[in-house]
Amino acid sequence: VVAAGSSAPAPAPVDPGTVARFQRGDREAFLIVHDACAPALRPLVARFFPRPFEREEALQEVWLHAYRIAATYDPARGELVPWLRAVAVNRCKELLRARGRRPDARASLDEGALARLLAGEPDPEVATRAERLRAAVARFSATLSGEEAAVFRLSLLEERTHEEVAAALGTSARRCKYLRSKLLARAAAHPELRAALEEVIDG
């Protein structure tokens, strides 16, 4: 799912020169590391913060913290991604503590799942939830009319811009924007999809 459910995708490799610049605090190198490794961290942070707004805030905190302490990363002691994962887990726990909340039960009690995430291994339970979600999305899209289905595919599934969608469908960008907004609201309210999404949040 979304970040909350999926296993971490394999991070793109980062060359040693970029890693060295990352350690020295080079912003460009930091952003290269972010682009390569962010997909590996999102599911991890989502284990602690399944709701999107909180997760996005936590991800910012994690990356800014990683930037601040980049000089403490020692390549001789291990790969960059496991170091980033450890930084993310520690920072998420600190954020939860700072907000006066206990770490999520799934993160604090299910240490096996957390260990799998730290190692970048897939979680079967999460994979099952993601499969249910995919099925719910497919059933929702089957309820759409021709124009709606086209906008759904181009705008929401493929995430093309309004202008690109408008050009592909021979309509106005304004109408595409309107339809995208309506479709997203309908998807969020679709009973099966909604139930699958709540399952993601509730674990």
Binding site: V2, P52, L157, L197
Partner: protein, 289 residues
């Protein structure tokens, strides 16, 4: 159009990746304090991500937004705490707590820690100072916060130093105090604007005083007062006050400063940098009843 409708439209635009960083920051500041809008945002964001990832890929718009916010945060912090990461040093998580407890603990015991001998090529400092700027990114100035207890009609008690920002990171005073601000260590003549944001989002512009012409402060090592004392018993409430000194070559527009302060993401811990492209010194004051 009602404010709710405007915000819902802004949420839809944000999820489509259409908001400018400043607009997005403003929206997020609202979401941080409005549970209803946040729930709406969460529902739509989850649905959008679920759809975008249902084909097995990544939610690219969400990833782009994450990167844009990160870039904005790094750019907005130029001259601030994120100007450069800390130089290589060993993590000492206990140090902030130890520093806070040091005055009391010093009466009982001296804690001596011998730093390991530096290895060749490793000139890392042995101590991490909380709130201090890392090497190579010295803060634009130091902001000193003094307080004195109100006594009688116009009198006050002895003056005490409450915070030395950014080094001390935070300070503690009360509604029964007068607060006095000073700046020191400016490297060049500059205008200093001091603004505070409390937990309720109320913005206080302390320097320059309302209606007063901005004055250029001279570079000097000794502290220079930034104006008369501020009565914290008026217009302030107990709780956290994020304090910022903004250092600029030209006077800052007060409305712009207020708008940036209003956009501050108060959900973030500490005193995150204001969205203004000027060097900043920040810290957290705890105001007690």
């Amino acid at each position: 159009m009602s404010r709710l409708v405007v915000r819902r439209k802004a949420i839809a635009r944000a999820l489509a990746g259409e908001l400018a960083p400043a607009e997005e920051q403003g929206l997020r500041a609202h979401l941080a304090r409005c549970a209803r809008c946040r729930a709406h945002y969460d529902r739509l964001a989850l649905a959008a991500e679920a759809i975008a990832t249902s084909a097995g890929g990544e939610a690219r718009v969400a990833a782009r937004r994450e990167r844009a916010r990160l870039e904005a945060a790094l750019a907005g912090a130029s001259g601030g705490a994120l100007a450069a990461p800390a130089p290589r040093r060993r993590a000492r998580r206990w140090l902030p707590a130890a520093l806070a407890l040091a005055p009391a603990a010093a009466a009982i015991v001296w804690i001596v820690r011998v730093a390991p001998p530096p290895s060749p090529g490793d000139a890392a400092p042995a101590v991490t100072f909380r709130g201090g700027a890392p090497d190579g990114a010295a803060p634009p100035a130091g902001l000193l916060v003094y307080a004195s207890r109100k006594e009688g009609a116009a009198g006050h008690g002895p003056v005490r130093l409450v915070a030395d920002l950014p080094a001390s990171g935070e300070g503690r005073l009360s509604l029964s105090d007068y607060m006095q601000l000073s700046v020191r260590g400016l490297r060049a003549p500059a205008f200093v604007t001091v603004v505070g944001v409390d937990d309720g989002g109320e913005v206080h512009v302390y320097v320059p005083r309302p209606g007063a012409a901005p004055a250029r402060a001279a570079p000097r090592d000794a502290p220079a007062s930034l104006g008369p004392s501020i009565d914290l018993g008026r217009g302030h409430r107990p709780g956290r006050l994020r304090l910022y000194a903004l250092v600029s070559g030209e006077p800052l527009d007060e409305a712009r400063v207020r708008a940036a302060a209003a956009r501050l993401d108060r959900g973030r811990p500490g005193a995150p940098p204001l969205d203004l492209p000027v060097p900043q010194v920040a810290g957290l004051l705890m105001i007690e009843p």
